[in-house]
């Protein structure tokens, strides 16, 4: 009976998840290519360093370490979750104990991490709801963001409580009913004496209750995540693996412009394969002008706000917030992508640039890359800024006047200022060296 119930709940979980995943995949198909995924060994190194080693979140050592503990704990506890799925399907109990010492070690570590994570999550809840850390506030941080965070944090908290409960009542059960104790429980061990007086029947029920609570919370969590900012849990490691590997200062080339410029410079040049069919828009006006990495970034973003907290424009009170670029990209995708999938010409007279992100935000950026540097999972916010500027300048001719003057000067005399090209050497005329 237990096995059948388990199988049904697991199939429902997988079914819903597959449905969600296929929808998201169809949204990715709407987007442009970003870069080819090569240099796998470099990517693996990067993933080990940034994702598993948590190198970037540890740039803030204290709170970063608490996050790292939660993440490392998740990995350890995942082992136990896999065991629970096998146990659930085949009616076994603690089946992976065949691994012996390794099993004892992992279960012991999971037991300790259960407590560590519960404490860490409590700290996160306090920071967010009582201390109200400034980083979690901002114009883009709506009520839903905080709700999302609190739901996810509470689910994780109860996952840990049920894990410790399961371990505790397992031990009580073994002591009461006899048999071999599988695993070592350095933390929940201390709770055993509290419950040892309960009847065998009660203990069995409490064990089952904790077991089911834990696994069903995992199933529930897995299907809530894709709809919340905590999709981060699934998407952050892939996002790091799929990082842009270029130096932060690099801006992507536009090959279609190269073609035009080369034609302009040498009208006789024979350009092969001029594709007249694709009247492609220069830069980004709406989300479908973005690439898959922009969307992946936005899905992986958990709105921690480290980007915004280091943004020079934001620090000095400007409207720009790098986190908002990500939140709004995802929101606009959520709004538009399902309709675009059905009708590729869908138009609601709204766009990412304009209705979500204002020109004022776009032009406040200094492209200093502090946001990209700070992002613990290697998102690239400046790419969005540059792409939207490209749209504003090349499609709309709507640059701030100061920049228009710069464009004119560069075009006319090869410098951002109004100096004659012929004077470019004047600085070098009177240099004397003491000898």
């Amino acid at each position: 009976m237990k096995q059948i119930l388990f199988l049904i709940s697991m199939l429902i979980t997988l079914g819903v998840f597959a449905w969600t995943a296929s929808k998201i995949k169809s949204y990715f198909n709407l987007l442009k290519p970003a870069f080819p995924i090569k240099d796998i060994s470099e990517r693996i190194k990067l993933t080990l360093n940034v994702a598993f080693g948590q190198s970037k979140i540890l740039r803030r050592p204290v709170i970063g370490f608490i996050h790292a503990l939660v993440w490392w704990g998740f990995i350890v506890i995942l082992f136990g979750s896999i065991e629970m799925i096998i146990d659930g399907l085949f009616g076994t109990e603690r089946v992976l104990s065949i691994f012996g010492y390794f099993y004892n070690f992992i279960i012991a570590a999971g037991d300790i991490f259960g407590l560590v994570i519960a404490v860490a999550i409590s700290i996160f809840l306090i920071r967010r709801n009582i201390i109200k850390v400034k980083r979690f506030e901002g114009i883009e941080m709506k009520k839903i963001s905080h709700q999302d965070a609190n739901i996810a944090l509470l689910i994780i908290f109860f996952l840990m409580i049920s894990l410790l409960g399961m371990n505790t009542f397992y031990q009580v059960k073994v002591i009461q009913q006899g048999g071999e104790m599988l695993g070592i429980f350095p933390i929940s061990h201390f709770l055993v004496s509290t419950f040892i007086g309960l009847s065998e029947h009660t203990v069995s029920i409490l064990h089952e209750a904790n077991w089911w609570t834990h696994i069903l919370l995992i199933f529930l969590f897995a299907n809530i995540l894709p709809y919340s900012k905590h999709f981060h849990v699934f998407m952050s490691v892939p996002n790091v693996f799929l990082s842009r590997l270029k130096p932060l200062g690099y801006i992507d080339n536009m090959p279609n412009i190269t073609q035009e410029v080369k034609l302009m410079m040498n009208p006789n040049a024979i350009i092969s394969e001029v594709d007249n069919n694709s009247m492609e828009r220069f830069g980004m006006k709406d989300v479908e002008d973005g690439n898959w990495k922009n969307y992946l970034d936005s899905l992986a973003c958990t709105q921690c706000g480290r980007c915004t907290s280091v943004c020079p424009a934001n620090i000095t009170g400007k409207l720009l917030s790098p986190r908002k670029l990500m939140i709004d990209f995802r929101a606009r995708m959520k709004e538009k992508a399902p309709k675009l999938v059905k009708d590729k010409n869908f138009d609601d007279n709204k766009s990412y640039l304009g209705d979500y992100i204002s020109e004022e935000e776009i032009w406040a950026c200094t492209l200093c890359n502090a946001c990209a540097q700070e992002c613990p999972i290697n998102m690239n916010h400046p790419n969005l800024i540059v792409e939207m500027r490209r749209y504003l300048v090349m499609e709309q001719a709507m640059a701030p006047s100061g920049l228009n003057a710069v464009f004119q000067n560069i075009e006319n005399n090869g410098a951002p200022w109004q100096f004659a090209q012929a004077d470019r050497l004047n600085w070098a005329k009177d240099i004397y060296i003491k000898q």
């Binding site: 280091v310 009170g317 004022e360 200094t366 640059a399 710069v406 951002p416 600085w427 000898q435």
Partner: protein, 264 residues
């Protein structure tokens, strides 16, 4: 001790004589036209001559790198500039380039290669660090003894290209013990000029970025704020003036620090 006038070698002239210098010194628009940064170009030229470096500049053949245009969204203009410069550089067979401008450094190093320009770039901080490391520059007395010196990381040198240590090594070899700002190296705060901001009004806010950064530097009560970028130089100099400290706080480029140390 006499003074000798330096004739800055120009690529076209050398080429006409059948010579091909080892390095091209890319001056950049700011290095050629910005009054303050012209002094930096001049200081660096003195160092190049002091070191007997085989180099040349493009002179009037150099045009704006297009960096600002690209970052302001004008890709068309950027590529026109880039392709034009690449044609010039390639016609002289240029391989090694040194520049004092981190923005041009970034563009020439990381972006020109997409358009057929492949060069070995050194920012002057990297070049100077290498010269010192190779023992080609030695310092006797500590010219800046007792001075409180801080270093501001230009974004396009630091975060963009991970050049954090070389400028600091150069200052260290001058006998300077750098007093770091709280936000330094990869945590450094932008001067506020990047991404085209240098040439436009700032958006509405409660403070200018350059003032935020200047205040951070001023909190250390420095005698000298060192930087290695023309835009940072402009912003921090403005910041120092805004704080009415231009008489007591100097804003200097790395090359100027070194040239002064060497008594050039």
């Amino acid at each position: 001790m006499g003074k000798t006038k330096i004739e800055v070698p120009v690529m076209a002239d050398l080429f006409a004589q059948g010579k091909k210098p080892e390095y091209l010194f890319w001056v950049g628009s700011a290095g050629a036209f910005d009054d303050r940064y012209k002094k930096v170009s001049q200081a660096f030229i003195k160092i190049l001559h002091f070191l007997n470096i085989d180099y040349a500049i493009l002179g009037t053949e150099e045009s704006d790198s297009g960096d600002v245009a690209r970052r302001a969204g004008n890709e068309m203009l950027f590529q026109m500039q880039a392709l034009m410069n690449i044609e010039t550089l390639n016609s002289y067979g240029v391989d090694k380039i040194i520049t004092c401008d981190p923005h041009d450094y970034n563009t020439l190093k990381n972006e020109y290669c997409d358009l057929g320009g492949n060069y070995h770039l050194e920012h002057h901080s990297e070049f100077l660090d290498r010269m010192i490391f190779e023992g080609k520059i030695k310092f006797g007395n500590n010219h800046f003894q007792g001075k409180v010196v801080t270093y501001h990381d230009p974004c396009y040198l630091g975060r963009a290209n991970k050049v954090y240590d070389q400028p600091r090594e150069v200052l260290k070899s001058l006998g300077i013990n750098i007093k770091e700002m709280p936000r330094n190296k990869s945590f450094s705060l932008c001067c506020g000029a990047g991404g085209g901001q240098m040439f436009k009004e700032a958006e509405k806010g409660n403070k200018e970025v350059f003032i935020e950064r200047t205040e951070e530097a001023m909190a250390l009560s420095p005698d000298i704020i060192v930087t290695a970028c023309p835009f940072c130089m402009t912003m921090l100099t403005d910041g120092i003036k805004y704080k009415n400290k231009e008489l007591s706080v100097a804003n200097m480029d790395l090359a100027e620090m070194l040239a002064e140390s060497l008594g050039l």
